[in-house]
Symmetry: C2
Subunit: 426 residues, 2 copies
Amino acid sequence: MKIYKANIIHTPTPGKLEIIPHGYVVVKSNGLVEGIYKELPENMDWRRQVMDFGDKLLIPAFNDLHVHAPQYRNMGLALDLELLPWLNTYTFPEETKYADPEYARRLYRRFVHELWMQGTMRSAVFATIHPEATRILADLFIQAGMGAMVGLVGMNRNSPDTLQNTTDEVMAGMKMLKAHLDEHGNGLVTPIITPRFVPSCSDKMLTALGEYAKETGLPVQSHLSENRSEIEWVKQLEPDTTCYGDAYNKYGLFGQTPTLMAHCCYTDGEEMEMMKRNGVYVVHCPMSNSNLSSGMAPIRKFLNAGINVALGTDVSAGHHMSMLRVMQYAIQVSKLNYAQTKGEMQFLSLSEVFYLATKGGGAFFGKVGSFEPGYEFDALLVDDSYLNYDNYTLEQRLERYIYLGDDRDIKRRFCRGVELTEPCFN
Amino acid sequence: MKIYKANIIHTPTPGKLEIIPHGYVVVKSNGLVEGIYKELPENMDWRRQVMDFGDKLLIPAFNDLHVHAPQYRNMGLALDLELLPWLNTYTFPEETKYADPEYARRLYRRFVHELWMQGTMRSAVFATIHPEATRILADLFIQAGMGAMVGLVGMNRNSPDTLQNTTDEVMAGMKMLKAHLDEHGNGLVTPIITPRFVPSCSDKMLTALGEYAKETGLPVQSHLSENRSEIEWVKQLEPDTTCYGDAYNKYGLFGQTPTLMAHCCYTDGEEMEMMKRNGVYVVHCPMSNSNLSSGMAPIRKFLNAGINVALGTDVSAGHHMSMLRVMQYAIQVSKLNYAQTKGEMQFLSLSEVFYLATKGGGAFFGKVGSFEPGYEFDALLVDDSYLNYDNYTLEQRLERYIYLGDDRDIKRRFCRGVELTEPCFN
C-alpha cells in the first residue's frame, strides 16, 4: 500500500477535469488505485506512510497509441514529402537497417529511454519486419518497466525487396514473439498484430493475420485513410471493397479483436459507421498529419458518433515524442478545421484532449489512464513551479503545463503502481 | 576584434542555407561582422585570439516581430475563444493591470528574461497604454542589452473604459518615451508607433499617429485582417475605405514609414497590392492564428509577390515564446494549406522559415539576421550534441534542432557583437 499526496487532476469523464487540491491517492500493492480522497479517513492505519509531494501536480501518465520505433533516428528530419514518397525515400531505407540486431539495440535503447523521459508509460508500437530486432525492443520495454504493445510488421508487396517478409515469416515471427513474451514477460508488454497497411500486404498475408487474430484474440493495429493518394491506391488494389476500412474488415482485422487505426483523416460515411459498429479506435496523429500534408481528421465528428479516439505521436512523421505536443496540435488542428468549416465543427477543449491522451488511449490497455478505483496507477508527478508565479488556479496550471511544459517538469513516473527510475540499459 | 570558430549556418539568400563547417566569423569591435572564412588568412595577426566552440552550431539569433509583453502572464492560457471575445474576456483585463508600475516591473522582467532564454535578440513589442510601464519595459531591454522596438499602445474606442487613452495622452506618452530613449538609450531600443488596430482607434487618433510618423520617421506596427469578424467590423467602422489596409493607409500608417502588419490571414487583391507597393511587412503568426481559430495566412502568395515577411510569436495568442515553435508552425500550417488547396500553394521549406526567423525579420532592424560582412553580429551558439548521435549532416542537425530543440540547447547569445549573459534585474 502506498499513499501519495499532491494536487490530483484526471478526467474520469471526457471533457471534464476532476481536481483534488492536496488530495490523496491510495495505491494497493498490486498497483491498482484503491481510491482518491480529499482527506484521509481518521482510522486509516497507514496515515504515517503518506508521501507528500507538496504543491506539485499528479496526473495520469500519457499513452501514445501510434508510434514507429525504428523511425526514431529520423525524428525531426525529412518532412518535405507526402506519405507515399516519404515512405520510399526516407522511411523504408531506415527501417531496413533493423536487420542488424546491434543497430536495433543501440537505437531502440534511445527510443525507449525517450518514451520514459516524455512520461509516456504505455505505447502501441510498430517495429519492423525483423523478429530479432522486435524481440530486443520488447525486452527493453520489460527492462524499463513500461507498458507496450509491440508489433512485428507484416509487409510483402509494394515495398523494397530488402524490406519484405513472407506470410510464413511474419507468422513464425509473431509466434516466436508471443511465446517469448508469454514466458519472459511481465504482462505489461504484449504482441500486437501489425499489417503495415493494405498497400503493403497481399490478400494471403491479410488472411493469415486475420486468422491469427481470431485464434489468439490478439489486438490489431494499422493505418487507415491517411492521405488522398493512398486511398485511391487502395481502391485500385482492393476493388471489391466498399471503402478502405472494408479492406481490413473482410479479413477480420477491423474490430474483430481490439483494433487501432491510425490517422482516419478522410474517414466518413460507411467507413465511420463500420468503425463505430466494430468498436475500432481512431488514433489521431495531428502532428504527423500536418507534417506530411495529410489533412485534418474530423475528430469532433468521431466523438459525436461515439467512436473511440486515442492520440499518437506517429514519430517520425510526427516530429516529437512529447504527448504534450500532440495535445496542442489536436486542439489547434481542430481550430483550423473549425475556421475552415466556419464554426460547424466545434474545436476540441483542453480537457477533451487531456482525456484522449490519458484515459481515451489508456482504455486500449484495460483500466488505464485515470485514478478511479480499480485503475492501474500510471502517473506523472509534475513540478510546474517555474510556471506558477502568479496565483494560477490548478486548472490553469494544468493548461500551462500542457502548452508550455516539457520533459524537465516530470519529477516522477509510475507505471502500474511502480515508480520507474531512468532506464539504464546494459 | 573577436574571432569565433564553429559550424556556421545562415541564409544570406531566402531558402538557401549557407553552411561553413568549422568556419570562422570575425567580428569587429563595433559589433559588425567583418567576414566569415573557411580558413583564416595566414597573415592574420589575431589568429591566436580564436574562440573555438568545437562542434557546436553558430546561427543568427532569432527575431520576433510581433509579441505582446503585457500578455505574458496569460501565455499558455485562455485559448478557447476567437479574437474579439478573447480580447474582451482575457486580454484587456490583464493589460489593465499595467497601470501599476510595480506589477509591470515584476512581469516585464520575466518577459524580457524569457526572450533572452529563447534566443530572441530583437523584438517588436506591443506594451500597453501606460507610459510609465512602457518606459520600464524599454529600460529592461536596455539593461539586458537586447534590441527592441517598444510600442506604447494607442486605443480610444471599443475598449474598456479602464483601458483607453486619449489622442493627447498617447502623443504625450510617445514623446516622453522617445525623449527618454534618445537620452538614455543605446541605439538598440527604440520606440515604434502602435495603434492597437483600427477598431480600437478613432480617426482623430490615427490622424495624429500618422502625422507623428511623418514628422519623426518612426516605424509603425499594428494588426491586419486577422479574423473574419474583425474584417467585417472594420468595413462598418471605416466605410469609405477599399480594404482594411486602406484604413491605415489613408492616415499614413501603411508603409509611409517602415511598417509591420501582424497576421494578414485574409489579405488578398487590393490589400496585397498596397502592401507590396508600400513595402509593408507581413508578420506571420501561425501559432496564434491556430490558437484563436483565425485561419491560415497565404504566405506562399506573399513571398511569390515579393512582399516582406517576418515571423512573430504573438504571445499570448501564441502560446510559446520560442521562435523554434513558430518556425515549426509556419511550415505545418503551410502544409495544411497545401493539402486544402490540393497542392496549389507549395508549402514552406525549412530553409525558408529559417530565413524568415533570422534575416527576414532582422531586416526591419537594419543589417540584422545574417553573418554577411557589415551585418550586426546577433548570434546563438547551439549545443545539439544530445541530438547528434548518428552522423547527421550539418543541415540535418539544424533541422533537428529546429524541430526538437529548446532553450536548453542555447549556450551563448550575442547581440550586436556583445555576448549577453543572463539578465539579472535589480
